[in-house]
Amino acid sequence: MTNAQTAPRSFQEIILRLQNYWAAQGCAILQPYDMEVGAGTFHPGTTLRSLGSRPWAAAYVQPSRRPTDGRYGENPNRLQHYYQYQVLIKPSPPQLQALYLGSLDAIGIDTGLHDIRFVEDDWESPTLGAWGLGWEVWCDGMEVSQFTYFQQVGGHDCKPVSGELTYGLERLAMYVLGVDHVMDMPFNDPDAPIPLSYGDVFRQTEQEYSRWNFDQADTEMLLSHFKDAEAECERILAAPQPDKAGRTIVMAHPAYDQAIKASHLFNLLDARGVISVTERQAYIGRVRALAKKCADAFVTTEAGGGGTAA
């Protein structure tokens, strides 16, 4: 890591370099999950695949939505929609820290000039019934990634343990590119015939979604969608179907989609301010119950290492 790469010039170049780097480390480069999620961890490529005994190595960009973080496109650092870069390797390789540092080098952070630190940070996701130990990684005092060894997901002990890396792409890129306001960040090559900034791509959506998230979303409808997702999740799990060979196919993934949906609907309701402090815990508990049931189902499947379930 002594030969730092040339500096990247745009947001997308940083993403492409991460893709290439982790592909070169043998990860399957997955595509974003096609649903609204709060973080890259919700992608089934992390949540479900961190369960069971089968080895796994994947990396992907995941668009993430956190309605309460919306600032109408005006805050230099906050967005209701942003990108995470996510790496999950199971079992966690012994040289994972070194691999991670290699990825910083790949995006132009010269570890010979910067101060990289692993600062204690225990990770917990009450909605996924998951926790792990690890660090937030600091570069010159700024948090650039989360580094976690999963211990439990969906109430199941992780055996083997997965190593998870999460990069907050906008923040990391702003730092690497030396940009102070996210909307000013070059999205594509600044010398391209049509140079586009992050603002060109996302200012409009931030303005629109902030209004919808905070002021306009129909809470009655969201509430009934939440209940629908909850009911559908449970119904699917209770109706496994046999295949031609007579094996039972549990529909863990479709059920998990409903759990993801419920989680995002909860986030929207939260942004609308209609969930009281006490109710909050109850809603989180309901989503966790769904996530746990999906995890229970997944570990009985072939992909989940459970072989052919009876």
């Binding site: 650092n77 570890t111 010979g112 910067h114 204690e120 060894y149 211990q151 343990v161 190593g163």
Partner: protein
């Protein structure tokens, strides 16, 4: 004698766990070695973010051989007993010795354990230490089942004698012990072998690792002070932060920067808190202005540009953080200007205090009512207490406190001054939470005392109404701390008030709040609260007070003797009495008087039980037969004449001194006089005389409750 060197090399160990971990490593390993029969001269433990290190010097090379003899059953004992003995000793029948004994022939087991080489013992002890290490939180990694605080990468375990160094053969979950380690993650140059602790330490230093956290702390402190001094600033020392930062670096490099001008007008507490909590920066103060104007950050490496890039990055993060803080602070000031602190307090209606008791706003009238009565009891101004109560929690609505919850109160104080409240009212924003811990100061200004007491009383009575009392080790709402805080405020300021009256009032107000929130369907329900609950809370205060006084060396029976007196909800009076009694009991007169009192009381109680009457009145000197009797009459008259006014003015010292003067006459009386004479009149007179002793003594404290 060999030396032992152990290093457990892992991924980054949380800073807050390192101090305990190195002590645990030392304790667990040395205890294990000693238990297995080894001795050692000295041991030292060290930690960096990536390693725990133990050095043991002067270890014995072999454990002592142990010969153990155990007596078994008689040779004619039933087979089951003999089998049991064989099982417990692990020997076969033919290995047992038969020896003659008083009761016949008895089996003896002679177990000889030869000395073992230290290497074998070290290997066992270290493996057990690693497997059972008391981390507060530990984890698994990869496919293994071993638990450590973060993945464990290598074990160095080596014994060194004059003949050379030798690796102790051992392995834990596939990690083989060796004689190598590595230096700094970025500045070191790969793994290297070591042959002794001194060699290890020196080579680490060359590989840019300062092994000893105390040395790292000293280095950081000295460099930070120097950097500050050179810039005309002074370091705001923070021991906790220093220890934490020293646990985050193996090669500390101090870098100093200045806070951009735009942020210098923020309250110093905001700057300090933001820099410390978010970035682990030390604050630098300008001694001339008292403002925080600079910072020190500690990097973990040297760089070719002498830290310029690192400092620039840190400054950028700092500016982003402080921009947020400034934005919040300026918004808060604008809100105060447009809405007033009173209006912000009313907005606390939207902040839940406790589910069953409503919002924080709901507390304000309760706090004001209690504060106003207390302050008027104490001779202060009702309107001051009310003014304070209606602004002191307003900062809970500010963005600054939402961002920095630890600044609640401090922010309120600034805003109150901004709105034009006087300093003593503004100070209450901070002091009504006090004392926050055993070393925190208690308020000493009359309004502040009243409001702070009201805060604790409302908290306690509220949770008593909800029946959420502390049990055993469970005290989630820190109610014990509230009670101790109230006690400290009362005692330190010699506050005189009837606690039970405020407890009753607090219970009543909180019960009414509870009913309102429960939308109690039963309109007939009384808003008064059962007296036993009030007594129960008072008893809770008394229990805390006992602990408080016991820490000051006052015996529990002394406290009980004082608790039994009327007015025991006046804690200042109670403490005064207990202190006087404790001091009295330490004198010779005091101790003897108690004996005399107990004797009088015993005789009297027996006579009363036997006669079925109470002797309480009518002792008359004219029936006295002896000089000692007459002398006691005189002494009691004299003592009473002193005790009554002393008690009236609560001068317990005087009262007890007067009581002490009774010691000689009482002793002389018992020496000379037989109480139970045949003459019924004289006997009754003497019993009534004893009753005067009891009555006078009991007016000071319930001496019957004293031990011994």
């Amino acid at each position: 004698m060999p030396d032992l060197l152990i290093e457990l090399f892992s991924e980054e160990i949380p800073a807050r766990m390192q101090a305990k971990a190195r002590e645990d490593l030392k304790r667990v390993v040395t205890d294990g070695l000693v238990e297995a029969g080894l001795n050692y001269a000295s041991a030292g433990a060290f930690s960096t973010p990536r390693r725990l290190t133990l050095t043991v010097e002067g270890l014995t090379a072999e454990s002592r051989p142990v010969r153990e003899e155990r007596k078994g059953p008689n040779t004619s004992a039933p087979p089951a007993a003999i089998e049991g003995f064989l099982r417990s000793t692990g020997l076969a029948l033919e290995q047992l010795e038969r020896r003659a004994d008083k009761k016949g022939e008895v089996f003896f087991a002679v177990i000889e354990k030869p000395g073992r080489r230290a290497q074998a013992i070290v290997a066992e002890v270290l493996e057990a230490a690693i497997r059972d290490f008391p981390w507060p939180k530990s984890m698994r990694w990869g496919s293994g089942s071993l638990r450590w605080v973060r993945p464990l990468h290598s074990i160095l375990c080596q014994m060194t004698t004059e003949a050379g160094a030798e690796v102790v053969p051992m392995s834990v979950d596939g990690i083989e012990a060796g004689n190598t380690t590595e230096g700094h993650r970025f500045m070191g140059a790969g793994r290297f072998a070591v042959h002794s602790f001194d060699d290890y330490r020196a080579k680490l230093l060359r590989a840019k690792v300062m092994l000893d956290s105390a040395e790292r702390e000293a280095h950081i402190l000295a460099d930070a002070q120097n950097a500050a001094f050179a810039a005309g600033l002074e370091l705001v020392e923070d021991k906790g932060l220093l220890t934490e930062v020293a646990g985050l670096v193996e090669w500390p490099v101090v870098l100093m920067g200045r806070i951009p001008d735009a942020f210098l007008d923020l309250p110093p507490e905001v700057l300090q808190t933001s820099m410390k909590e978010h970035q682990k920066f030390f604050s630098l103060k300008n001694p001339a202005t008292g403002r925080i104007e600079g910072f020190v950050t500690v990097a973990n490496r040297e760089t070719p540009d002498d830290g310029a890039t690192i400092l620039k990055g840190n400054l950028k993060v700092l500016s982003a953080r402080l921009s947020d803080a400034k934005f919040f602070w300026e918004n808060d000031i604008r809100t105060v200007d447009s809405d007033s602190l009173g209006a912000m307090t009313a907005m606390l209606a939207f902040v839940t205090y406790q589910n069953s008791l409503g919002s924080i706003w709901d507390r304000i009238p309760r706090l004001s009512s209690l504060s106003e009565q207390i302050v008027s009891d104490l001779g202060g101004e009702r309107k001051d207490a009310k003014e304070a109560c209606y602004i002191m929690k307003s900062d809970l609505r500010t963005q600054t406190v939402r961002e920095f919850p630890e600044l609640q109160g401090v922010i309120g104080r600034y805003l109150a001054l901004h709105e034009g409240h006087s300093a003593h009212i503004a100070d209450i924003c901070v002091s009504h939470y006090a004392p926050l811990g055993p070393s925190d100061a208690v308020p000493n200004e009359v309004t502040a005392i009243a409001v702070s007491l009201a805060e604790k009383l409302d908290t306690l009575t509220g949770f008593w109404v909800l029946n959420e009392k502390p049990t055993g080790s469970k005290d989630p709402y820190a109610l014990r701390r509230s009670a101790i805080g109230a006690i400290r405020i009362i005692v330190a300021n010699q506050v005189r008030l009837s606690l039970i009256q405020y407890i009753r009032q607090g219970l009543m107000m909180n019960e009414s709040a509870r009913q309102r929130w429960a939308l109690d369907a039963n309109p007939n329900r009384s808003e008064t609260f059962p007296e036993p609950e009030a007594k129960d809370l008072l008893a809770f205060f008394h229990d805390r007070l006992k602990v408080h006084l016991r820490d000051e060396g006052i015996r529990h029976d002394v406290i009980d003797a004082c608790l039994a007196m009327p007015g025991n909800d006046d804690l200042t009076l109670l403490v005064k009495r207990a202190e006087a009694l404790a001091a009295f009991l330490k004198t010779e007169d005091g101790e003897n008087l108690i004996q005399g009192f107990k004797r009088a009381n015993n005789i009297l109680s027996q006579a009363e039980a036997k006669d079925g009457v109470e002797y309480s009145f009518g002792a008359d000197v004219k029936f006295a037969e002896t000089d000692e009797e007459r002398a006691l009459f005189a002494a009691l008259d004299a003592a009473e004449a002193r005790i009554t006014p002393a008690m009236a003015s609560e001068d317990f010292g005087q009262a007890m001194a007067a009581m002490a003067s009774l010691r000689a006459p009482i002793d002389a009386f018992f020496e000379a006089v037989q109480i139970n004479t045949d003459n019924a009149i004289v006997r009754r007179n003497r019993l009534n005389l004893l009753s005067r002793i009891r009555q006078i003594c009991l007016s000071v404290a319930d001496l019957t409750r004293l031990d011994g």
